[in-house]
């Protein structure tokens, strides 16, 4: 990472976080999609072979994301210490969920057991939820700590999982059935609603201006390529028009790509710190106190 040089006056304003780079983003990108895929594969299963492919891909995504993080942490050979704080740390809980995912997922792939597949899928959901809560627990980043970020991250993970499963069904199976298509359509709608709710909520509760700019710029692209186009493709498939396989693949991949773009934007580009604030400027001499100051934000609430 490049060192940053700021003037003293700039240090008070929110800054884009630089501690979690693309490797951390990859964990949220791959892990969330992997968890969602395991869940989708478990409960909207395809034939045995395609289910196995989906399970393997889900495990590989989660494993790949965690490997990226392992390369990012400062003391990788102490990584096992991550299990020491289950009581309150969502990172510990994520690590525990990952263990369960790999144990149950590997057994499910080897044995082909439906029950184990369902257990692995549930663990995948727990992993996805833990990841969402990791971001939500970080009070230092306003774009993450907003309560609506957790359902948004869970919704996109679920949608990406269903999108990947639809693509796998096209590539390795007999194509996605109507139930999977309807699920994907419902998850696209859910994700779009969560995104809207998140953006409105974040704007209402205030966030650094730079973070809002980044998210506002993402909105139209995300909704067009992540919601409208895949939804149209699914309707085409449900209507029985020709090109069903291609439309399935396209819909699945668009949902996945837009979800990954969303998570990368959230983890890297919109992740501005809280910054510092002066609630009351000091009284000096005979003058009154000045209004509240919070550089990098719009007018501070309660400012006088």
């Amino acid at each position: 990472m490049k060192p940053i040089k700021l003037r003293a006056v700039e240090l008070a304003a929110p800054r884009q976080q630089r501690n979690w780079d693309w490797r951390a983003a990859a964990n949220f990108i791959c892990g969330g999609a992997g968890g969602g895929l395991l869940l989708a594969a478990a409960f909207f299963g395809l034939d045995a072979f395609a289910t196995r492919v989906a399970m393997l891909l889900g495990l590989a995504l989660i494993g790949g994301g965690l490997t990226c993080v392992w390369f990012e942490i400062g003391r990788p050979w102490r990584a096992m210490n991550v299990y020491r704080h289950f009581a309150t740390s969502w990172m510990t809980r994520e690590a525990v969920a990952a263990l369960a995912v790999f144990a149950c997922g590997a057994l499910a792939v080897v044995t082909g057991s439906v029950v184990l597949t369902m257990v692995a899928g549930t663990c995948g959901l727990a992993f996805l939820y833990s990841q969402a809560r990791i971001l939500g627990a970080n009070k230092g980043i306003p774009a993450w700590r907003h309560p609506a970020s957790v359902p948004l991250l869970v919704a996109t993970g679920l949608a990406e999982g269903a999108g990947l499963l639809a693509a796998i069904a096209v590539a390795f199976g007999s194509g996605p059935g109507n139930s999977l298509l309807l699920l994907l359509l419902a998850l696209i709608a859910l994700r779009a609603w969560c995104w809207r709710r998140y953006l409105v909520g974040l704007t209402a509760t205030r966030a650094p201006a730079a973070a809002l700019e980044v998210l506002d710029a993402l909105g139209p692209r995300f909704q067009t390529y992540g919601s409208v186009l895949p939804a149209v493709a699914i309707v085409v498939m449900l209507a029985g028009l020709p090109g069903r396989s291609l439309a399935g693949l396209l819909a699945g991949m668009l949902v996945v790509a837009s979800g990954w773009l969303l998570k990368y934007t959230l983890v890297r580009r919109a992740a501005y710190t809280q910054g510092l604030a002066v609630e009351h400027l000091p009284v000096r001499g005979r003058g009154p106190s000045g209004p509240a100051v919070q550089p990098g934000w719009k007018a501070m609430s309660g400012s006088r």
């Binding site: 008070a12 942490i73 400062g74 510092l276 000045g290």
Partner: protein, 215 residues
């Protein structure tokens, strides 16, 4: 009961950065890392403009978000209110850095020296390899606070057991002490002044009070 806090009288701070230098000297932080900073904030519009100096560091929160998210229990809140880091447990995941709303934490991934690859003699002598690749921040000079228990001295009163930044402050803007003791300097100061704690709305219960006017 003991709860150590710091008070910073914004009316008195002149932005001289002596506390910044004293902290660096006391804690031997690497180049680019300042546990104690004094920000220079310009506000208002001409002709009604103001300049405020804002000393910041770890707020030693009563409900520290960094402690909640830490997966290793490296970050702990002590009975006396200090938030401490065990460098031997920390894995450098930076979750605490993200959780802190005060920009108080940092991680240095490789040794840094003032003049290139090789340390100066003074840097080599004080270099602590345990602090590479882990999270670090202001400790309220905890070694000094710990010394108070053994020596019977009083933090905030006796300089030997008072944080370096407080000792160094040329204008008397910074004070340190036990807020649970109604006769301590900080308790008396807070009783007779108006003050705020930064980002208190986030529920962190910070342990640094900024004084801005008399009562």
């Amino acid at each position: 009961m003991t709860r150590y806090v710091m008070t910073i009288d914004l009316r008195r701070c002149v932005g001289c950065q002596t506390c910044t230098a004293a902290c660096k000297g006391a804690n031997a932080t690497p180049p680019g890392i300042q546990w104690r900073r004094v920000l220079d904030i310009e506000s208002g519009e001409f002709p009604d403009v103001r300049r405020t100096f804002l000393p910041v560091a770890c707020m030693h929160c009563g409900d520290p978000p960094c402690e909640h998210v830490c997966p290793t229990r490296a970050t702990t809140k002590r009975a006396d209110g200090l938030v401490a880091i065990d460098y031997d447990l920390c894995i450098g995941c930076a979750n605490c850095v993200m959780a802190c709303p005060y920009d108080a934490r940092s991680i240095v991934h490789e040794p840094r020296y003032a003049y290139g690859e090789a340390p100066m003699a003074s840097e080599a002598k004080r270099f602590d390899p345990a602090r590479v690749g882990v999270s670090m921040k202001c400790t309220f000079c905890k070694d000094r606070i710990d010394h108070a228990e053994r020596s019977g001295l009083t933090p905030g009163v006796d300089p030997e057991v008072t944080p370096a930044c407080v000792n160094s402050c040329i204008s008397g803007a910074m004070a340190f002490g036990n807020i649970e003791d109604p006769d301590s300097g900080v308790s008396r100061l807070l009783a007779e002044t108006q003050h705020f704690r930064m980002h208190e709305e986030l529920g962190t219960a910070p342990g640094v009070y900024y004084v801005w006017d008399k009562s």
